[in-house]
Subunit: 274 residues, 2 copies
């Protein structure tokens, strides 16, 4: 019997995974959620027909989303993740000596699915430094001032519930919520297929933060695979930071990768400078 | 009307492209060849159901395959490409002041398809420094001694006609065909899905060449997207080379990307050191 899940990466490109078993499926308050066990990529979390993570390559995204800003800052005590209800980014953040790590996920269904089907990610929820809020991140951040050292926007694609997380007004609120040497990072999609989004966000962030930098990583199961992260920093110049060594295990991130990730292919440089 | 081409990237993962039109299809002496015009990725060359290139991202592969060894060498006069019958790698090589660039492609059908359907790539064939041989690269190289400064293995996957291009005996012949400071590069697939191949080739090349290094680039339409290139060098240490500037246009390669490409994610370092 053939059992496949197909994701439309665009209207014209589809990625399909042979599925061993459907483990879960529900319509949450916000989106359609599915958990599949796939042959090649292990367990997969799907929201509204879009792959959010697979156990095969989640480490790339989660490590690069967290270790780059945390090591760039160097002394973060309070960290906020908006989105990221699977727990993967939180898991990586908690490898650092932070005092508090808050996670604001709008969809409780994602949190529950992570607890039930992704124990390797949701293990983070049990850490006593972690605090989980099932709320709208946009509203959550509005009354926070000078509070977080790092804010990470671990969102779905800029359609549906996540649209507001890609808006300039939101970045202004993020800026206000950060401490004076605060840093923020957002996942900003692939330059191969969503160059207009990257360009616009780079421009918006540049108009608010002193330093704006884009870094990259390769995530095979995301459309375009070459993935961008846009970082805004209030005081610390990320390109002047050198990471000497790390005292925990990683599968993608290294101090050398940290530096290399800020080196952009010519066409990506052109997108953000255009 | 829906018209899709699907590629099995493995037995369990399929990538599908919406096709505007089939431009060409034939059974050559060696393989089944097709040229499609796709909606999102432009023209595509397919051999035995495997995507060889798309106009959307061919620049990544061809630039990284050629500029990294050529700038590492710094003074290459004679360059050989084995495979690469589409002309893309040759096109990039000819941006350098080489005296002769030879291309040995076993399948004349690929050369003809490139001439007819990929003028942006096959433009290289018209350069007076270029010489095209429709022969078996493995036989071609056997009687060449101390002749080429650079040899590039621009092969299909290690199944079918290309198997011999991934064999240790062949790398020995490549070594002999190179001048005393010669450099060779081969495309060695994705570490996400073909780690055993990369591991084996790294070991084989290391047993023959003084310096063996792996570098990476992201090619979205190749399985796993994170692509490895394995370089063997007889005398020049690639990590000690710095490229100051380049005097032609590129879309991916830059002197900074050159350096960053040799920085490997932790899991890739582990594969080749294991």
């Amino acid at each position: 019997m053939e059992f496949w899940f197909s994701e439309y990466q665009s209207k014209n490109v589809k990625m399909s995974y042979r599925i061993r078993m459907q483990l879960h499926r529900e319509k949450t308050k916000f989106q359609e959620l599915a958990v599949f066990d796939s042959e090649d990529c292990g367990r997969m979390l799907i929201l509204d027909d879009v792959v959010q993570l697979t156990m095969k390559d989640e480490f790339v995204y989660h490590e690069m989303m967290s270790h780059v800003p945390l090591f760039t800052h160097g002394n973060a005590k309070k960290v906020l993740v908006i989105g990221g209800g699977d727990g993967g980014t939180l898991r990586e953040i908690l490898k650092h000596p932070v005092e508090e790590a808050h996670l604001v996920e709008i969809d409780e269904g994602v949190i529950e699915a992570a607890k039930n089907y992704f124990p390797e990610l949701s293990v983070a929820f049990k850490d006593e430094r972690a605090k989980i809020f099932c709320e709208d991140g946009i509203a959550f951040i509005k009354d926070k001032k000078n509070f977080y050292d790092i804010i990470i926007i671990d969102s779905t694609d800029p359609i549906g519930p996540a649209v507001g997380l890609f808006a300039k007004e939101f970045y202004n609120n993020v800026y206000e919520a950060l401490t004076e040497d605060g840093i923020f990072v957002a996942q900003t999609e692939s330059p191969f297929f969503f160059s207009e989004l990257l360009k616009r966000i780079y421009k918006d962030v540049s108009s608010i933060f002193k330093y704006t930098n884009v870094y990259i990583a390769t995530i095979p199961t995301y459309p375009g695979a070459l993935w961008t992260f846009t970082m805004g920093s209030k005081k610390i110049n990320p390109l002047e930071r050198t990471v000497d060594k790390i005292d925990f295990d990683t599968k993608y991130y290294t101090p050398e990768i940290h530096k290399a990730a800020f080196v952009l292919p010519a066409f990506v440089k052109k997108i953000i400078s255009g």
